[in-house]
Amino acid sequence: MGTIAATEDVDTTGVTPAERPVSGTGQHEAPPRARGPWARAWDRFKRNRLALISLIFCALLVLVAAAAPLIAPYHFGATDYANQLVGVGSEGHVLGTDQLGRDILSRTIYGLRTALIVAFGAELLALLAALVIGLTAGYRGGRVEQGLMAFTDVMYAFPSYLFAIVMVAVLGRSIIALIIAIGIAGWVTQARLVRAQVLTIKQREYVEAGRAMGASGPTIAIRYILPNAIGPLLVTTSFAIPAAIAAEAGLGLLGLGVQPPTPSWGAMISEGTRFLLAAPHMLLAPAAVFALSLLAFTWVGDGVRDAFDPRGEQR
């Protein structure tokens, strides 16, 4: 059976490129290629100017966060007592300093790093948990499903922000703790979605065919069902990223974020309200970057949703 599948593979890949020039009619047209659902989704995404610009901006943010030690002019904890609370545009401190003379630009950049590490880490965790629980529940059915879904129902009733607050109180204020707190608070909706997807896909013929050919449960779940469930999951995940960024900052605002002096936008904003009159830039700089990042990630999410939403084609 394995050999048959292998030769078929070679056959198709061998033929299609050779046929392409023949089937392409007009020279001015791009040669028609086999357009998979991913390629079509990408085409739709590209047409959305705002989403595309946002995506580029987000990529830039990720780069800046990754290269923070190279880009930031100072270390986030470096104090400069000669220049406390100096304003925007001061010499050596483009965005000014805080009450300890720490460079606001550097702290904002490192705050971005904290936000993105926590947000992506938490979403990865949430996605993994949702996939394992949702796939298992949806595919196995019966008792396993009932048990897992009862558990998700209880977690759904638990207000996610309260859960995150309790988790941080328990785990302490570290990056790992924040990732776990926000990730666990976020997986429930995803798990429900995965299960719903699995339940519909499970009925399709190709899954039945796979089963008839003797594929095992996990193989079917991962090789047959998962790839077809991933579109909607990608949409919710791309909306979950800005939500996780906001959650990280929110916890920082409550004094439950990363341990100082490691900067978090939320903690910077909270600190900024104490020096509002003397140094409004302390609040404004992180808040502005925070807002721009949230908008960019949200607009990417909008673009991804429209790209995967079949109704989007009518527009």
Binding site: F158, A169, G250, G255, I269, L276, L277, L283, A291
Partner: protein, 333 residues
């Protein structure tokens, strides 16, 4: 399903959910370093309470929860306290009982949330109608752009910008505190803009739908004054689905108050929950978390009940269940 059966079933489920939430919270807090009655020994040193006060509090909580008793017994003691509305002293706020703190803080949070929903409606309905009547015009697009902004930015970030504008630059309004009426303005404004965005989007699409209805065309054809037709025929009918959105928004607002209260230093429920978590004040944290969860669940239940009253079809489909309308993009903050 008849109403009473549905209601009693939902109430049982709500109670079960609350118990589950309490067990999860308690188990998690148990696994934190230190024992339930002992934690303040670790933390209160830092929270500036005098030595004698600490010893006295320790004795108090020891006599309440007992020394060296199994965790499940401490849990039962606490839940008994919840049921009898006597949750014992807070660790962080010496001399204040948990139920007193919740009792004084809840009205503040509720005031904030209700005022914010009211303001959100006052902003959203005109904005949504305006955008719908000028569909695809520049005014429509810019209104909807503002809506996107309000939807994407959490309330505390809006609050931060409002503070910079109205407190720091203009000096019109105070940036923190809770004693005079003007302390209400910025928090309520910050809380209401997000929900206003969600609501405006609903009003717009609902209005666009009703404007296409035949009865609106008929009313126009009969020569009714434009304004009357819009308000009496179109707006009235397009506001019905809104009821279903306001409920979940109210629940989301309750969580939003946590951050706004922290930012403006308003002594509401969320403020206490956050300080309790930061100082590991376990009784207060348990109490506020449970109370919060209860409120959110009650609001959700009330919403599900109103669905049944508004839309008889939901009643027919096996009873008072959740409908499609429930899917609001309510960002918690």
């Amino acid at each position: 399903m008849d109403f009473l059966t549905f209601l009693s079933r939902r109430l049982v489920r709500l109670a079960l959910c609350l118990v589950a939430v309490s067990i999860i919270t308690f188990t998690l807090l148990q696994s934190a370093p230190g024992n339930f009655a002992d934690i303040q020994r670790v933390t209160s040193g830092a929270s500036s309470i005098g030595g004698t006060g600490t010893e006295q509090m320790l004795a108090e909580s020891l006599s309440r929860y007992g020394d060296d008793v199994p965790a499940w017994q401490q849990y039962l003691t606490f839940m008994q306290g919840v049921a009898t509305w006597d949750m014992g002293p807070s660790y962080r706020y010496a001399g204040r009982a948990v139920e007193d703190i919740i009792g004084s803080a809840f009205p503040i949070s509720a005031t904030l949330a209700l005022l914010a929903v009211t303001l959100a409606l006052l902003i959203a309905v005109p904005a949504g109608v305006f955008a719908a009547l000028r569909q695809n015009s520049k005014a429509d697009h810019s209104t909807m752009f503002l809506v996107t902004l309000g939807n994407a930015l959490p309330s505390y970030l809006v609050a931060a910008f409002l503070i910079v504008i109205f407190s720091a630059s203009l000096g019109w309004l105070p940036s923190s505190g809770w004693s005079r009426p003007e302390h209400l303005i910025l928090p309520v404004l910050a809380l209401s803009l997000g929900p206003a965005a969600v609501l405006a989007r609903y009003v717009r699409s609902s209005m666009l739908e009703t404007l296409r209805e035949e009865y609106v065309t008929a009313a126009m054809a009969k020569g009714g004054p434009y304004r009357t037709v819009i308000v009496r025929h179109a707006l009235r009918n397009s506001l019905i689905p809104l009821v279903t959105v306001v409920g979940p928004l109210l629940a989301a607002l309750m969580t939003g108050t946590v951050f706004v209260e922290a930012l403006f230093r308003i002594p509401g429920l969320g403020y206490y929950a956050a300080t309790a978590a930061a100082s590991r004040d376990m009784p207060l944290l348990m109490g506020t978390v449970l109370f919060f969860a209860l409120i959110i669940m009650v609001v959700n239940l009330a919403v599900d009940l109103t669905y049944g009253f508004i839309d008889p079809r939901i009643r027919a489909e096996g009873g008072w269940g959740r409908s499609q309308l429930r899917k609001t993009s309510t960002q918690p903050a």
